[in-house]
Point group: C2
Chain length 359, copies 2
């Protein structure tokens, strides 16, 4: 297909030079569009290169120029919970952005028993990458700490608890949950529960903070057992929701804020099983905007984030860091988009529905 890059005798600059009767240096400069090459020669060289299927050896080029044009990405090490629905999207966006600039993406995992930081350190030390992208950030994150003192350009998707002196981009998780509470309060909900995620994960902690802050500011009621942490998937969500439903009907939340869509769906099933109607007896709200949210019954109100675009922006940022090293840390906060659907409605017999005018 395409060019005759015959694998037995790979075309090199030396061969091209010989073929054209020019010096190797000339070929190299012609191909790289140096200004000191005659237009006619450039044409001739580039034409020959094309026809003979010349492809520069990236190893040689990297060695000569000292730039790898490769970004490293460490797969989040979470074999316990199943696949992160974002990972593929982020990876796709990141790879796309890099590929548009002819950079590569080197993906590694952390085998059981190996240390995350060592994996990064090896990649950096053996000159395999120029920069790094980190995802699924924890509040206290060894990877970030290592990279911070290593001098390697890197971008973090998410933030740690001390996010001042490095580049990151993140969804404004706290603000998103503030908006969620505001929305629910506006509909008349007072008793609002929350299924929070792993509190060592930054995104989960921030959503939880947003919930607590907004509930305090807006006089929501957080009863005993309303906030359950450590919910990471459908199954734990299912069980946690069952615990919530064990609260007597009068004291039970009328709305439930869930740290992710997956958690929301697990909760929905718990309600269904208990004979309750989602969106009528109890409203449920998720976070992510997964497509499944539109197929469940009722459709899931959620806070939508575009992880493909997040991946692309991470790519842009890390490329910028690698090509203009002395730039100041760039920090970008994106807003999640509240997407109302049928799983959230005003509370069943809420007095707030009737006389809500007087605050």
């Amino acid at each position: 297909m395409s060019k005759p890059s015959s694998r037995n005798e790979p075309m090199t600059i030396a061969r091209l030079a010989q073929h054209l009767g020019l010096a190797e240096g000339t070929i190299s400069r012609a191909l790289n569009n140096y200004p000191d090459i005659a237009e006619k020669t450039r044409q001739r060289v580039q034409k020959a290169a094309r026809e003979l299927g010349y492809r520069p050896s990236s190893s040689a080029r990297r060695l000569a120029r000292g730039v790898i044009e490769t970004i490293g990405f460490v797969l989040p090490t979470c074999r316990t919970q199943h696949s992160d629905p974002f990972l593929a999207e982020i990876l796709n966006g990141l790879a796309t952005e890099l590929s548009l600039h002819d950079w590569d993406l080197l993906v590694t995992s952390v085998p059981d028993g190996h240390d995350e930081v060592d994996v990064i350190d090896r990649l950096v030390g053996s000159n395999k990458v120029d920069g790094f992208v980190i995802a699924r950030t924890r509040r206290e994150d060894a990877r970030v700490n290592y990279l911070r003192q290593s001098g390697v350009p890197f971008v973090v998707q998410g933030r740690t608890d001390h996010p001042d002196d490095y580049s990151w981009l993140d969804i404004d998780n706290e603000q998103a949950f503030v908006e969620a509470v505001t929305y629910l309060r506006g509909l008349g909900h007072v008793k609002i529960g929350c299924l929070g995620g792993d509190p060592t994960m930054n995104f989960a902690w921030q959503r939880r903070s947003g919930y607590l802050r907004a509930m305090a500011e807006q006089n929501g009621h957080i009863g005993v057992g309303y906030l359950i942490d450590g919910i990471t998937d459908e199954l734990t969500a299912f069980r946690a929701a069952q615990r919530l439903l064990a609260i007597t009907e009068n004291d039970r939340p009328t709305a439930l804020l869930c740290v992710t869509d997956a958690v929301a769906i697990g909760a929905m099933h718990a309600l269904t099983r208990a004979g309750l109607r989602v969106g009528e007896d109890i409203s449920i709200m998720g976070f992510d905007g997964l497509p499944i949210g539109r197929a469940v019954q009722p459709a899931l109100t959620t806070l939508h984030q575009d992880s493909y675009e997040i991946g692309r922006e991470a790519g842009r940022m890390v490329l910028d860091l690698c090509t203009n090293p002395p730039s100041a840390p760039k920090q970008t906060l994106w807003q999640a988009k509240l997407t109302p659907r049928a799983s959230v409605n005003p509370p069943a017999q809420s007095p707030a529905q009737q006389n809500k005018g007087g605050f």
Copy 2:
């Protein structure tokens, strides 16, 4: 952290040689455990290398040895449908296996408007990878066709319609759906429907074939509208299932085989919405073994596959191909594991339950 790999003055073999008063070649051979180095020298060199934080430059090593020790992986180009739940798992397994052998994984996407084959061709041509892994195979797959004639070692996760002369590993999709039908027939179901996937995708086509073959062999009944193709996610599944439910109750399937768990869950919601009970009025069966299948209500009967292990095996295979190039194509077929749960039961008022003895 770890070694003092000071980024300003990277440690090289030349520096080590100078430091130890040895020749560069000696250092190199000592570090690579050549047999012609005195044990004492080897120790001394390796100790110094460790202490001074020496890391071989992979670019230089690759250039000198002509081996890249890197495998390429092209992300499936499907921005329309959301993330493949397997991708992250497969990637994880693949990266893990490679990393255990000190190989790297280069991941690229196919930006909009670019050609999939070109992307692969560039990676191969510019010497960035030694081999390739392909996933989400189509029945007629340009990537496979290209790689087949390129001479580059590659492994396909899945198969094309003509899978004879290359290495692949795959779930036995056809057999899995034969087992599914057998299981349903054994419970007494006769009218069995099927929500099939994209028929240009190999896995979907083979599952569909298994369904058709088993239904024919086991005297199942495929009524008009029982088989719906092109169902790829929860939302299309939801709508397709609604079409199925439009069939009059007597002619309607009593069981529904779904090409994936996601599709099954979409179908479940359609039933719920229509006021039908999953597993009682209509049984539903999926394929994948996603964790959500245990959290939905009722829990989803499914055919389970372990995509992490699939990724690891793909890694083993491609490493084998790259290091022992003249080996014959290796082809591995794995069986999916039928996992009975509550979403499948004998049909409601099936006469087959009573007198099933006579075939």
